[in-house]
Symmetry: C2
Subunit: 355 residues, 2 copies
Amino acid sequence: METAHGSFMTPVFMPVGTQATVKALSPEELEDAGARIILANTYHLYLRPGHGVVEKLGGLHRFMHWDRPILTDSGGFQVYSLSGLRKITEKGVAFQSHIDGSSHFIGPEEAIRIQKSLGSDIIMAFDECVSYPADYKYVLDSVRLTSLWASRCLGEKRGETQALFGIVQGGMYSDLREMSAKALVEMGFDGYALGGLSVGEDADTRQRIIKETTAFLPEDKPVYLMGVGKPEDILEAVILGVDMFDCVMPTRNARNGTLFTSTGRLVIKNAQYIDDERPVDEGCDCYTCSHFSRAYLRHLYMANELLVYRLNSIHNIHYYTRFMDDIRKAIRDERLEEFRDNFYKRREAGNQIVE
Amino acid sequence: METAHGSFMTPVFMPVGTQATVKALSPEELEDAGARIILANTYHLYLRPGHGVVEKLGGLHRFMHWDRPILTDSGGFQVYSLSGLRKITEKGVAFQSHIDGSSHFIGPEEAIRIQKSLGSDIIMAFDECVSYPADYKYVLDSVRLTSLWASRCLGEKRGETQALFGIVQGGMYSDLREMSAKALVEMGFDGYALGGLSVGEDADTRQRIIKETTAFLPEDKPVYLMGVGKPEDILEAVILGVDMFDCVMPTRNARNGTLFTSTGRLVIKNAQYIDDERPVDEGCDCYTCSHFSRAYLRHLYMANELLVYRLNSIHNIHYYTRFMDDIRKAIRDERLEEFRDNFYKRREAGNQIVE
């Protein structure tokens, strides 16, 4: 995909930089770890420091010293999951800040205007995220509202180089997903996201919804599965045609001391690593694995030293970006099924599987 | 000064890497910020991860991926300031770990053996740190004990390339400082430290003690003022002939959001910086000032983002190392007094002075 800040190949994983920083990492480290595009959050940046501040400072890229592409989420999901006292009308959503309880309003027009100020390369339409489970009637009304908002997002003036993605909703109801997808495709977006997944449904249901929904999306536009996920979930979704992913898992797990390796996950605080001279993953060439032992990382973790959050995050982001590189290569070589089989076999053979 | 891990010029400031990491910084960032030698703590590393682990992993340099010189404190100060239930005998000190309350013993022989395992370039003799104020009789006995321990430290086998510094004690009593200094010089160390200062005494008293004590120390050996301090304290001590310094101030202040600048200190959380496009210090060429605005740093700080601890620490360490560079240059140019006058004038002219 081409953007004003360079291009990236898909399928791609986007590290999450909620508050204009991918937690614990510098922009240079993100680049070195292979990140080609990152995600930031409209809701968070609107509340703090304020999109006006970011705009005055030259936009999000300059503000955070990151010159590769940025996708901003519209704030729809965060308004539902983080803020208090929501009141939804056709106009938009009134809510209270999770930081100081102050009152705010964001509707489709506001969401586009905020993202215009931020200057991100890919912006998202404002949607309603329904909770799970939700009854059919509620989800039906919600899909209609999301479609209405989507068309108003398209009508609002955005930055000249900003791509706008629509977000398919519809809960776990196949016909509502179809209705939502068809409505958005009819309007014509630069890409299509699957929202409202990874909200508590089982993996089979998620796979079914992804498969059913992508069938109604155009093949020549990127498909983005929001908030997913584990490496195995990403792999399965790629097989179903998904192109873009974001998830806090690599960075959050890093801060909790859980590291991704080719043979499963490694919990660095475990006593067995106290004097283990090996890197986290012997086949990994990230900065962390190139210079530091499991013993040192465990020491830093047990001593609550800030450096460990960074070193672990570098490794986990590198794991994810290399995983996507490998998937792309397998697609090019037309051996994605073989790649999938090997992925699961390596894990079974490993002795560090946590779940 | 020459060491097995390269040389450094004095006067020098040593960033503090208590637990085998200078908080929030990678070794490369420390180098880029101008650090030539760092300090680590025997007490902390003995307790966690254990000096045996560090030795097995190839020594402190390899463990933490830092190949410039390291000085380790002997643990004397930490045993008094951090641990519980201390019992002091001629043999050494029995104490309880501040981490888990377990019982331990370190005397002069143990302190040298631990530092031999760590493989640091400069090691410190084990001393008794008296509290302040302390009565004359107590300090007299303590100086005698510290001298006895110092001679036993000299007698214990250390690493072939390890330099050993003695620590002058004596509280705020001029004659006891003289007694301590003369006893150590008589024994012959590779360098001499001034311990037991910056413990609550006023600045005039400290200056007096430094001046009186350095008079009894050989001019051709480095003099190290432990735990000091503010830039102005360092400058005044250099004028009195001190060569080496360490202090947590640049890194601790960084984590508290206080930044050193040529015109005084800047408190990044202040509302005035919310949309301030300028770098922390317009004359500074550190990584932080080269890429990030005050507005971004303030945003990260208000949002509790990990990256700010690093960016602030890089700037403050760079400030200190450049400050020492400037002092060395002023000494070479024989204009240290002029440098001192300008230093205070710039501060008075600045409008960001906090104290």
